[in-house]
Symmetry: C2
DNA sequence: TCCTTATCGATATTTATTTATCGATATCAT
DNA sequence: ATGATATCGATAAATAAATATCGATAAGGA
């Protein structure tokens, strides 16, 4: 209530926000191909969303286009990178050095998104003290010290469901303010900590369900 | 138009569908704890969605509850497993044996969701011909033969963005009807092939954006 | 047995998101 | 220079989803 200097950012709807990285991806391709301008119609033809929706999405970013020409590629790219936080690097740590944790550790793509994974933590002595993808895996007991030392605010949670809550508690104690949760369970955190739930089971459910419908439709034809 | 015997399935909204696995997860915990019944209020207290929303979600599944008692845990669990396709195993293959592909290959959780990853494919001779997590990695040239032989309809796409489209084309040629796409680019496929886009960049964008707002709000306080 | 209360299920309302409409404008071809 | 057209941006309409309301009902206690 007190201030809404950032309300213009706040109010980007989540569905729009989720499409912005796709526009960014396309824009950066077009930019490297030397394109100067791009219209919603062109984006629409490539990405498959309607031009109207794209225009509305871009309006949320504050980007300004020109009639008949479209948007300036370089400028739009910059705006998107700024909004998506790709320009300022954010440190993060991973808790849970299982398969998924290690995969995320080794995923180079994150650096393009401004995410720098500093280290991982685990309880398994087979893993702690080693390097994976050039990054160290520490014992979970070191979490608080390292997080506070480096002021890390983002934690990626990739432990089995059964340990998700206790791990989240440790993260909160360590000063983590945003948790990207890959465990398919809800975790409880204080109000000032943010949880982003990444649920592969949900996506799989959608896929599986659509596939069911697809095949039953085909049977009916 | 001709038949809508499956319309009751078709019309489950995607947001609802994405929540169903969370209910399932909770229900299976409660079931193993010996709970016989559960109410929307109780689910609400644990998962944090409103009881009203949960009741509406469950209504889509056809589950029937009892006043004052709630739903029968075992029955609801069964209904959810059926809708989510957890009861019938579906074979899938992975194309792209990079970090993410290997992680998904090794993820035991999928078998609980009815997904059985049969094998992976890659072009890198360092990887092909080897076993990872007990599953073989074949050269991409074997894809069509194996997919058709085993009648595999689901493909998980974990190659770098630059190769996503050509890989998707290979999958389509191999008879794949549903592609779970982890590359952060749009892929074009025939109408009878379904694509489920899994975009970590989108989730990260949401996280990053919310974190930005969180910190700017805190600065303003 | 009867009263209180928690809960469901159906319906209605509100809010969020997508899609459509249309005037203004800039570019291109004539 | 002029006209045709593609495009944006603002506004309006339609659709989808979340939330609220309320009567009916079943359980448990007085």
């Amino acid at each position: 209530m007190s201030s809404d200097s950032n309300s213009s950012i706040q109010q980007i709807p989540e569905p729009t926000l989720r499409r912005l990285p796709l526009y960014h991806q396309l824009l950066s391709e077009k930019h490297s191909e030397g394109a100067k301008n791009i219209s919603c119609t062109e984006i629409s033809n490539i990405l498959g969303f309607t031009a109207i929706q794209i225009r509305k999405d871009l309006a949320y970013t504050g980007a300004v286009g020109r009639s008949k020409t479209g948007y300036n590629v370089k400028e739009l790219l910059y705006i998107l990178e700024d909004i998506l936080g790709y320009t300022k690097t954010k440190d993060a740590l991973i808790v849970g050095a299982g398969n998924l944790g290690l995969a995320l550790m080794g995923y180079d793509g994150f650096k393009n998104y401004g995410l720098n994974i500093v280290a991982a933590f685990d309880t398994d002595p087979q893993k702690t003290g080693k390097l994976f993808h050039g990054k160290a895996v520490f014992d979970i007991s070191e979490l608080e010290k390292l997080a506070k030392e480096k002021g890390i605010k983002i934690g990626i949670l990739t432990v089995p469901s059964a340990f998700a809550q206790e791990t989240a508690d440790l993260m909160v104690n360590a000063g983590i303010k945003a948790i990207w949760n890959f465990a398919p369970v809800k975790i409880n955190v204080p109000d000032d900590v943010l949880v982003q739930h990444e649920n592969l089971a949900s996506s799989l459910a959608v896929l599986s369900h659509k596939l069911d419908n697809l095949t039953s439709v085909q049977r009916n034809e």
